[in-house]
């Protein structure tokens, strides 16, 4: 008998194993190194250092930078809460619309497939800020339904504007996930008399959720950071408020600490998401 060949070279001859078992600490390798706790702590130290330097420089002035940051924290927190609200709503909208659009992308009807392809390409490849401007200036500030006037505030418009790229990107995630399920499953379901809709909802999609979750969370983190774009179109979110604070204080030494402070908030919110995403990716990949 011949020797058993090393599995790496003739993997195709072995029983199907989509993902070879990973060595311990696989998530520490290459690309993952950005996400270590050490890098996070280093960033934190950098931010604290900038505050400390400003504090020392401010010694000849009446109020220190730390006191100023504390004084404005409640207002900043309100602004940041607004960013989170916008991100959550935009994500919900974008996910719902993206799911539909993703289905359209795998439709059996060529015109639906074609139209959705155009929509996806358009919104995926447009700068977010440009989309935001479009929505801000195209949409009215209030809607009239018969005699009733419903206000349509800026932040809702911004939410819609940010939901558009999420929709297109999530549609691609849905399409990719559905297509990543082996086609044999479709054939098997068909032979068991499942309709296409039943196959999709009861067999394919439940398996897709796991595959879609990490990239979906990734997009959520990106979206959260992108909500600061809304400051450019006049929404009173955290960056707008930071600008107002620097105007109210007129202290040049406050600039770097306060922007670092805001950055820290985003970091503390998005970094755990990144870690969690990484962990889910690793866990799902091992199955």
């Amino acid at each position: 008998m011949r020797e058993v060949p090393p599995p790496a070279r003739f993997a195709v001859l072995l029983p199907l194993r989509l993902h070879p078992p990973r060595p311990a600490h696989a998530d520490r390798s290459s690309g993952a190194s950005l996400f270590t706790l050490r890098t996070g702590l280093a960033l934190l130290a950098l931010l604290l250092a900038s505050v400390a330097v400003a504090q020392v420089q401010a010694r000849d002035l009446s109020v220190g930078v730390v006191e100023l940051l504390i004084k404005w924290t409640p207002l900043l927190a309100k602004g940041f809460g607004f960013n989170l609200l916008i991100s959550a709503l935009a994500m919900a909208l974008g996910t719902a619309a993206g799911l539909l659009l993703g289905f359209a992308r795998i439709s059996l009807l060529a015109p639906v497939r074609g139209t959705s392809w155009i929509v996806v390409q358009f919104f995926r490849n447009s700068p977010w800020l440009v989309l935001l401007f479009f929505v801000m200036f195209l949409m009215p500030f209030e809607l009239h339904f018969g005699g009733v006037t419903v206000p349509f505030p800026d932040w809702i418009k911004a939410t819609l504007g940010l939901a558009l790229p999420i929709m297109a990107n999530f549609a691609e995630i849905v399409r990719g996930a559905v297509q990543s399920i082996p086609t044999a499953q479709w054939e098997a379901a068909r032979s068991l008399a499942f309709s296409r809709r039943q196959t999709l909802w009861q067999i394919i999609l439940p398996q897709c959720v796991k595959r879609m979750l990490p990239p979906w969370m990734n997009w959520y983190a990106i979206l959260t950071m992108a909500t600061t774009l809304a400051s450019i179109v006049g929404v009173s979110e955290v960056m707008t408020i930071t600008g107002r604070i620097t105007a109210a204080e007129a202290r040049t030494d406050l600039l770097i600490p306060i922007y670092s402070y805001v950055l820290l908030w985003f970091f503390l919110y998005c970094y755990p998401i990144a870690l969690w995403t990484k962990r889910l990716e690793t866990r799902y990949a091992e199955r």
Partner: protein
């Protein structure tokens, strides 16, 4: 699977909304005063980042000289007030659309602006600009700025003059604090901004080496804006404004907010006596 269609429907709804907006603007009643009284509140566009005229306090409230003026108008009408933060780019649009009933947002009078919104006279304030630079910078006149980098703040009316007439290379920033930080960092020879702002920081030890180096350019009157079509409301605002000057109300507010006394206000007080 019907998403292609639903999307078309969405787009159609969006355009329908646009047309409604356009149509609505056409029908909109131009009696601002009546509509304010009917709503029970007046919506005013103000600055939230321009100390001490309109800025944010730590509680998130917008305060300042212009807000006091707006409050006075609401008090006269006997209605509540809603402040909407605006920036130079949208302050006139909001009035035009009817989103705000009035705008009082550090806007200097210019003929082309009076084409868009009605700017009732007499104007409530006048601002002058100068260049704040190091005492040893050698700047004496505006013409000395030619070809030199000068820090400026986005949306200020004298930027154009500084850049085009005097040939300065403008380096513009979002806010005055950012512009001052750039001046400190040596990114420009001086910062062009309101004299009132520089007067406020002159006492700081930090700026001891700096001064207002060029003569202030002619004060430009600041006006509030109301809808162009509504001449009745504009005329009423004119009367209020006259009274402000006559009674010295703006002069009082100027003192309250620690702004150096402007000759314009004294002039107006004498004129409207």
């Amino acid at each position: 699977m019907h998403n292609g269609k639903s999307l078309q429907r969405k787009l159609a709804a969006m355009f329908a909304g646009l047309f409604m907006l356009a149509a609505g603007a056409g029908w909109a009643q131009v009696d601002t005063m009546a509509s304010i009284k009917q709503k029970g509140k007046m919506v005013v566009g103000v600055k939230a980042d321009y100390k001490p005229f309109g800025y944010t306090d730590p509680a998130g409230k917008i305060v300042g000289l212009e807000i006091d003026l707006a409050n006075d108008i609401a008090r006269r009408l006997g209605v509540a007030i809603e402040l909407v933060p605006v920036v130079a780019a949208n302050r006139m649009e909001f009035v035009k659309q009817g989103r705000t009933d009035m705008m009082i947002a550090t806007m200097a009078y210019r003929p082309d602006r009076a084409e868009v919104v009605a700017i009732p006279q007499p104007y409530y304030y006048a601002g002058a600009a100068t260049v704040f630079a190091k005492k040893n910078s050698g700047l004496k006149n505006w013409t000395d700025l030619k070809g030199k980098p000068v820090c400026a703040v986005q949306g200020a009316y004298y930027n154009r003059k500084t850049g085009e007439e005097f040939g300065a290379q403008l380096v513009t920033f979002k806010g005055v604090t950012e512009a001052m930080a750039a001046l400190e960092g040596g990114n420009c020879v001086g910062t062009v901004f309101d004299t009132t702002f520089f007067a406020g920081i002159m006492g700081d030890a930090k700026w001891a080496d700096y001064a207002m180096m060029v003569p202030a350019i002619d004060p430009e009157p600041w006006g509030l804006g109301v809808r162009k079509e509504d001449t009745k409301f504009a005329a009423w605002i004119s009367d209020v404004s006259k009274e402000w000057h006559k009674t010295g109300f703006v002069l009082e507010l100027e003192k309250k907010w620690g702004i150096p006394q402007s000759p314009f206000l004294l002039e107006q007080q004498a004129k409207n006596k």
